[in-house]
């Protein structure tokens, strides 16, 4: 990726308490590109977005945005940086006590002193860009999931951010909405000249719209490349993920104890035998509880 980097993540480690989530991560997000971070549930994708947004601090390493280390910024500096960012949350996170219009106008009213007529025009343009100009009087509860996501997208780009983050933008969408949202992400990024980071596990849709992909598993980057490189990759993890196979390096089962023990199919017992205590191991269902 030859373009100049907008976001750099270097040697980042992060843990929730004693549970490590990210282990020595290195990622680069160049300007004017759409980059996907992919991986199974709980692999640390959303944690990466939270680190970039400055909601959490890395245990070690740093996240740089536009040359500034994000966790070294003070409160005012962080808020100034966030004004240049937009984030689309998984379920939109629209303000439920405001209409669609007010949701999109929210940041404009909070951060600018634009007159209401100009805000009106800008809101209509943003809603038109996502194809929902006609919904401006509706409340979020009156929208479908896909429409709410598009309104949230209009709100995310309300102030033309330089960095747009998407947290699972395709989750729970029907095929048409999914394609619409995917195209919007690409089109808006090109129109705004922004950088987009898409956290998702929808491989097929991502491969259509992104310029570069990172695969994350167990807190480390295990594969990266352009969509063509990913499609051609023979790495077992990538193959399993891209083709949605059950068997492969990504385990289906969360680590747990002995299955037979959990089903109480065998158990041990201390009993007296010839005036001594000995351990007896039983096979078959444990019937002691029925007594």
């Amino acid at each position: 990726m030859p373009s100049e980097a907008l976001v750099e993540i270097r040697d980042v480690n992060f843990a929730y308490g004693h549970r490590p989530i990210l282990k020595g991560m290195n990622l680069t997000f160049p300007k004017n590109k759409v980059i996907a971070i992919m991986g199974g549930s709980g692999c640390g994708k959303t944690t990466l977005l939270r680190l970039i947004g400055g909601s959490i601090k890395p245990t070690s390493g740093y996240v740089k945005i536009g040359g500034q280390v994000i966790h070294e910024l003070d409160h005012a500096g962080l808020y100034a940086m966030r004004r240049k960012m937009g984030m689309l949350f998984q379920f939109g996170a629209l303000f439920t006590d405001m209409s669609v219009y007010d949701n999109v106008a929210f940041q404009m009213r909070e951060h600018t002193s634009l007159p209401e007529e100009i805000i009106h025009d800008l809101v209509m343009m943003k809603l038109h860009a996502v194809g929902l100009r006609g919904t401006h009087n509706l409340m979020p509860a009156e929208l479908s999931g896909g429409m709410a996501r598009r309104v949230a997208l209009a709100r995310t780009v309300a102030l033309d951010p330089m960095l747009i983050m998407y947290d699972e933008p395709f989750a729970g969408l029907d095929p048409i909405s999914l394609t619409v949202v995917g195209n919007l992400i690409k089109r808006l990024n090109d129109a705004l000249g922004a950088t987009s980071i898409v956290v998702t596990h929808d491989v097929q849709e991502s491969l259509k719209i992104v310029d570069y992909l990172y695969f994350v598993a167990e807190g480390v980057i295990i594969a990266e490349g352009t969509p063509d490189e990913i499609r051609a990759s023979d790495k077992p993890f990538v193959q399993q993920f891209v083709n949605g196979e059950m068997d492969g390096p990504v385990p289906f089962h969360y680590p747990g104890g002995d299955y037979q023990q959990d089903l109480k199919l065998k158990h041990t017992e201390r009993v007296k035998f010839n005036k001594r205590k000995v351990t007896v191991r039983h096979f078959g269902p444990d019937r002691r509880q029925k007594k």
Partner: protein, 261 residues
Amino acid sequence: MTTAITKYLVGIGRTVMNALWRIGIGTRFLSLILLNSGISFSRFHLTVRELFFSGVMSLIIILVAGMFVGMVLGLQGYETLKRYGSESALGSLVALSLVRELGPVLAALLFASRAGSAMTAEIGLMKVTEQISAMEMMAINPIARVVAPRFWAGVFAVPLLAAMFSVMGVFGGYLVGVVLIGVDEGSFWSQMQSNVDFQHDVLNGVFKSCVFGAVVTVIALFEGYDAPPTAEGVSGATTRTVVESSLAILILDFILTALML
């Protein structure tokens, strides 16, 4: 045996530490609200909007409750005063009971049940649906934009609601005492006028209401903001709001009354 006692003592210690910890965090939360209160006054329409939802929308329950409490006071007061031949003091009894104690306390309890629980649920659900996180990511401080206007709305609303409660209570006492039972109207009002002191009775009641308003609202907002982002978490927080607010009102009422006498 020793282990059981140790476990019991550890349990008590943990409960006390947890309670102290929460009081500490709650106090820090209150100081954050006060530090970020500028927007609540510079953009006063935000506070007025919350005043409408927590104050105006609570008006019906306050007025109805006040009326019936006053009517009960009228009945009970008349029955007691009649034994001493002091029926004419009914107006004073009703007014003093309401202005000093029942107005501030019952209005605050009703406010905690109706508006406080709603505030907790609203803020808790905003957390669940990531609206609070979205606001933070938009570089908008949710304490200043969402919490502080609600806090000041509560501080303003409770004294006003307590006043309305007392007015309706006096009206209820009048209906029962004068209209229904036949106590002399002139003595009802004149006794009330001569025995209710503005500073000692009315202002003390207003001060109590302001304290109750601040405490109930900060408990409601803190519980909502601190609620785990799950359905169970929000429901638990709403329950805690009502329980903690009610206890806080009654305990503070005793302390304030003792200090003001």
